[in-house]
C-alpha cells in the first residue's frame, strides 16, 4: 500500500480522535461525572460499541455525504477532513459548541465550489432540515420518555436503593446504545469523504470480503476509541458538572433520547421498513450528538418547568449551525488551492 495513503488518512483520523474526545461525553458524561459509572467501564463500552456501530450501521449516513460531494481524489479528501477538523478545533478553542457533522458538510461544499462540482440542493436541503429536526425530535422523545418513566415509577414503586441499581444499569445500556448510534451516525463525518477514493484494496477471506469502506470504518472507529480513552475523561467530568442539576434518571432519559435520534438518522433497516410500509422515510444524515443531548435536556427542563429554555444555549447552537459549515468551507477552499497550486497535488 502507498504510504501516502496513510498520510492522507491522518486528517480523518484526527477528526475521529476529536469526535471521540468530545462526543463520548454526550453519551457517558453524566454517568461518569456523577460517579454512577467508572470512567474505565464507560471508555471500554463506548469504544467497543462505537466501532460496532460504525462497522454494522455506518454506511447509511456515509451514503448521503457521498451524494453531497463524491471526492474521488485522496488529497482532496485529506483537505476536506482537515478543514473540518480545523474548523472544529478553532470553534472549540473559541468556546463555541461545534458539530463535526456541520463541519464536514461545510468542507464538502467548499470542495464542491473549488472543483466546480454542483452541490445537490435536494441533499443539502435534506441535511439542513435534519439539523433543525434533530434537537427538536430529541426534546419530544425526552418528554415522552420522562412522562412514561414517571407514570411507571408511580404505578410500580421501587425501593430507592434498587432504583439506583436499575439507573446504573440503564445508564450503561443507554450509553452502549448511544455509542453504537454515535458510531453508526458519525463515522460518515470521520471517513466518509475517503470512501469514493477507495484507498484500500478489498481483503478477501474465503467467502467473506472486508471491503475498503469497512476497513475505513474500522480505522475511523479505532480513532474515535483512542479519542475516548486519551482525552474524554476531562470532558466527561465537565459535562457531568455542567449538567449537575440533572438527576441520574433525567440523565438516563437525555442519553436515551440522544441515542434514539442518532439511531433514527442512521438506521438503514428502519428506512427500509418505513419504505416497505409506504410511510415517509427518515433521511440518513450525520447529525450532531451534542445538539441532540441539548435538545433532550431542554425537553426535560420544559417538562419540569424549572428553568425553561436556555435561550443563550439555543442561540449558540443556531450560531454553530451557521458559523461551523461556513468556516469549514472557507478553510477547505483555501487549503485545496494551496494543495493544488503549491504542492501540485490532484484534488478533484
Amino acid at each position: 500500500m502507498d504510504p501516502l495513503v496513510l498520510i492522507f488518512l491522518t486528517s480523518g483520523l484526527f477528526l475521529g480522535w476529536a469526535l471521540g474526545a468530545n462526543d463520548a461525553a454526550n453519551v457517558f458524561g453524566t454517568a461518569v461525572g456523577t460517579k454512577m459509572v467508572k470512567f474505565r467501564t464507560a471508555a471500554i463500552i463506548c469504544s467497543v460499541f462505537v466501532i460496532l456501530g460504525a462497522l454494522i450501521s455506518g454506511a447509511g449516513a456515509s451514503h448521503t455525504l457521498g451524494k453531497l460531494g463524491a471526492i474521488s481524489a485522496l488529497p482532496g479528501a485529506f483537505m476536506t477532513a482537515l478543514a473540518a477538523a480545523a474548523a472544529v478545533f478553532s470553534m472549540t478553542k473559541s468556546g463555541l459548541p461545534v458539530s463535526t457533522s456541520q463541519a464536514i458538510v461545510g468542507a464538502i461544499i467548499g470542495w464542491n465550489f473549488f472543483s466546480g462540482n454542483p452541490t445537490d440542493s435536494n441533499t443539502l436541503t435534506k441535511i439542513l432540515l435534519t439539523w433543525v429536526l434533530c434537537p427538536v425530535l430529541a426534546a419530544i422523545i425526552a418528554v415522552i420518555l420522562f412522562k412514561s418513566l414517571k407514570l411507571y415509577s408511580k404505578l410500580f414503586p421501587v425501593h430507592l436503593i434498587r432504583a439506583d441499581a436499575y439507573t446504573r444499569i440503564g445508564l450503561i445500556m443507554a450509553g452502549a446504545f448511544g455509542a453504537y448510534s454515535l458510531g453508526a451516525n458519525n463515522i460518515a463525518n470521520v471517513v466518509g469523504v475517503f470512501i469514493p477514493a477507495k484507498p484500500f484494496p478489498d481483503l478477501v477471506f474465503g467467502t467473506w470480503v472486508f471491503s475498503s469502506t469497512q476497513q475505513l470504518f474500522l480505522m475511523g472507529g479505532l480513532a474515535i476509541a483512542i479519542g475516548v480513552f486519551t482525552y474524554s475523561k476531562g470532558v466527561m467530568m465537565t459535562v457531568g458538572g455542567n449538567l449537575g442539576r440533572l438527576s441520574a434518571t433525567a440523565a438516563f432519559i437525555a442519553v436515551m433520547s440522544h441515542s434514539i435520534v442518532l439511531f433514527l438518522f442512521a438506521s438503514r433497516g428502519l428506512e427500509a421498513w418505513l419504505a416497505g410500509q409506504g410511510l415517509p422515510t427518515i433521511p440518513l444524515v450525520p447529525v450532531s450528538s451534542s445538539q441532540a443531548v441539548v435538545g433532550a435536556i431542554v425537553g426535560i427542563s420544559i417538562l419540569q418547568g424549572t428553568s425553561g429554555i436556555r435561550w443563550a444555549t439555543l442561540g449558540k447552537i443556531v450560531a454553530g449551525w451557521v458559523a461551523t459549515p461556513f468556516a469549514a468551507g472557507i478553510i477547505c477552499f483555501i487549503g485545496l488551492f494551496f494543495l493544488q497550486n503549491v504542492f501540485g497535488l490532484v484534488v478533484k
Binding site: 408511580k154 414503586p157 425501593h159 430507592l160 436503593i161 434498587r162 439506583d164 444499569i169 441520574a248 419540569q304
Partner: protein
C-alpha cells in the same frame, strides 16, 4: 453477568439493612412504652431493667447498622442524588433511639417518685409520643419505596406531637398546682419534658423527611 448479579445482591443486602434499622426503632418504641408502664406501676424492678437493657442493645445494634449503611453508601458511591438526605435521615432517626435509651436510664438512675394522680398523665403522654415515633418510622420507610405517601404519615406525626404537647402542658400545670415540694415538682417536670422530647424530635425529623420526599418526587 457477574457484576450485575453482584450489584443486585449488594442492593438487596443494603435494602434489608435499612429496613432492619427502622425495625430497631419501631421495636425500641414498643419496649420503651412497656418499660415506662412497668415503672409507673411497679417502679424500677427487674422487668423494667430488662426492658432498659433491651433498648440499650437495640440502640447498639442500630448504631452498627447505621455505620454499615453509611459506609456502603460512600464506598460504593450509591444514590449520588439522595445520599446526603438518606444519611441525614438515618442519623437523625438514630437520635430517637438515643432519646428512648436516655429517658429509661434517667428513670433507672434518678428513680422519680411519681404520685398516683399523675401516673395516668405520664402513661398517656408516653403512649402519644410512641405513636408519633411509629408514624415517623412508617413515613421513613415510605420515603424509600413510595415518597408520595410520606406526607400522610408526616401529617399524623404532627397531630400526635400536638396532642403530646397538650398532655404535657396539662400534666406540668397539674404538677405545679399540687402541694408537692418545689424540688420534687421540678424533678417531675424534668421527666415530662424528657418524654415529650421524643415527639418533638419525631416532628423535627418529619419536617426534614417532607423536604427529602419532595426532592425525590420532583
Amino acid at each position: 453477568m457477574a457484576p450485575s448479579l453482584n450489584l443486585f445482591g449488594r442492593t438487596k443486602h443494603l435494602e434489608q439493612q435499612i429496613d432492619s434499622f427502622f425495625d430497631k426503632i419501631s421495636e425500641s418504641s414498643v419496649v420503651y412504652r412497656l418499660a415506662v408502664r412497668v415503672y409507673l406501676k411497679e417502679g424500677a424492678n427487674e422487668e423494667f431493667e430488662e426492658r432498659l437493657t433491651r433498648v440499650t442493645n437495640l440502640e447498639t445494634e442500630a448504631d452498627h447498622l447505621r455505620r454499615s449503611i453509611e459506609n456502603q453508601l460512600y464506598t460504593n458511591t450509591l444514590i449520588p442524588d439522595s445520599r446526603g438526605d438518606v444519611l441525614g435521615l438515618i442519623e437523625t432517626a438514630d437520635q430517637l433511639l438515643t432519646k428512648f435509651e436516655g429517658s429509661l436510664w434517667a428513670f433507672s438512675i434518678e428513680k422519680p417518685d411519681i404520685p398516683e394522680e399523675f401516673r395516668h398523665g405520664y402513661k398517656k403522654l408516653t403512649s402519644m409520643v410512641v405513636k408519633a415515633s411509629d408514624e415517623l418510622c412508617l413515613g421513613a420507610r415510605a420515603f424509600f419505596r413510595s415518597p408520595h405517601d410520606v406526607q400522610a404519615y408526616n401529617h399524623k406525626v404532627q397531630l400526635y406531637e400536638k396532642e403530646a404537647d397538650m398532655i404535657s402542658t396539662t400534666l406540668k400545670r397539674a404538677i405545679f398546682d399540687s402541694d408537692l415540694e418545689l424540688p420534687r415538682k421540678l424533678h417531675l417536670r424534668e421527666f415530662v419534658e424528657q418524654i415529650d422530647g421524643v415527639a418533638d424530635l419525631a416532628e423535627d425529623i418529619a419536617d426534614r423527611l417532607a423536604i427529602y420526599s419532595i426532592k425525590r418526587t420532583v
